[in-house]
Assembly symmetry: C2
Homo-oligomer: 258 residues x 2
């Protein structure tokens, strides 16, 4: 299959760089085609602004979503955005690899989502009415594709556990996995998380690459996280709240798992 | 008091721009001193990279945290970073205002945290050992200061409610409020969240500014979110998990509220 790796780390000679190289080799050895969007190497422009719609009318005030919509529809987006969208169309599976900085992705990758996820491409897709709130959360342009996070943290596993001080890793990743990946239609595979990156000796490297290798070998068959789909009966529309008989009495992120 | 507003929106002629102007006027009318870091107007550099430590040894591989530590300690950080840190030292209260994009802040503001939050300034503060895991989560350089988010969303209140499809707003903001603000020591006030920004008529503007105005008038007295402090008995160290008798049986973000 076709695998796109969107990768954000400022230093190739790093654990992240080594894991990225490992992943490319492993996937290619298995016969997959691989492209890497190495955001630091590409000097990816992180900030969404009026230059992303270069043919817009400069006399009008810039509007982030409406200018994105028009530029996407008319084929006049800035070239770097269009190239990344083309890679997404090409890909069967997309891996997002990054070190966790301040409990989220580095700004350069956030800017990849802000800019590549155009109106009409990743949001504003499908009918929007009081009975159908867009093709999203389980439907959309990325439908049929798979996505997976590969995340490193300096902290320990326990710090990210169910009662760990940082909050559970699954909850910290929910805004990304559910809000950025499931939203435009990806099937989201459970993440590969590597903790305590300051202490990686040969034995840990072997263990980490054993785990990552196994996950790369099973990209096509691993069961995705069972997020509930928006338009298939679990939610009242347009309130978009869970129906009373779905996860009854439950609140919070976990209620959106089937 | 001294109030810093860190603001990220690409268009001054917008609801966010109007709310920012409203806040500045309201605070100044009450006798406060106000500075605004308007990240788009400043063309803030979003991406943390080797240029942030301009006097580093270019023969050595760039290391995001160690180069940050050295540049901060030696006073050789890039000037834009040092200026923002000085504003933080000056401020008694910091307001972060942004439109929610993909369930987080725009990349340009994420890059403000990635870069301004240097090692030794916002993390890596205090003793780090198996009995004291740094001055953080309730202690640190921002101790004694207050912070508050002002966030706009296009979606409806119900979409962000306890059983709403996007996840509860408090949980979506936890990585920011707890992980970026409480972490270096801020007392974090409950956020001001404005939903459904596509439909703001005169009556809603009045209601929104009434709420925001009230919150600005009470910045000094509003009770902060009662996050549990790391080093005052609630957590086992170094595992940094809640002790069994603290929020017994509870998991997830809410367990970290006293």
């Amino acid at each position: 299959m076709n695998v796109l790796i969107v990768y954000a780390h400022p230093q190739p000679r790093s654990l992240n760089g080594a894991l990225r190289d490992f992943a490319v080799r492993r996937l290619e050895a298995a016969g997959h085609r691989v492209q890497v969007s190495d955001l630091y190497a590409m000097q990816w422009k992180a900030t969404l602004d009026e230059h992303d719609a270069p043919e817009r009318d400069p006399r009008e005030p810039f509007h982030a979503s409406l200018d994105s919509k028009r530029a996407f529809a008319e084929g006049t987006q800035s070239a770097d955005i269009a190239r990344e969208q083309e890679k997404l169309r090409w890909a069967d599976t997309v891996i997002f690899q990054f070190p966790m900085w301040w409990f989220s992705m580095p700004a350069i990758m956030k800017g990849w989502f802000d800019r590549v996820y155009a109106y009409g491409f990743a949001y504003g897709v499908g009918e929007h009415s009081d009975t159908h709130w867009g093709d999203r959360y389980g439907e959309g342009s990325m439908s049929g594709k798979r996505a997976m996070l590969v995340v490193t943290t300096g902290g320990w596993d326990s710090h990210y556990s169910a009662r760990g001080i940082n909050g559970p890793i699954d909850d910290l990743l929910f805004p990304i996995q559910h809000g950025m990946l499931f939203y435009p239609g990806f099937d989201v595979l459970p993440p590969v998380v590597v903790h305590r990156t300051g202490k990686v000796d040969a034995a840990r490297w072997d263990a980490i690459t054993h785990t990552l290798g196994g996950r790369l070998d099973t990209l096509a068959t691993t069961a995705p996280i069972p997020y509930r789909r928006q338009n298939f009966g679990a939610y009242d529309i347009p309130a978009l709240t869970l129906k009373d008989d779905v996860s009854p009495g439950q609140t919070g992120f976990a209620a959106h798992l089937a």
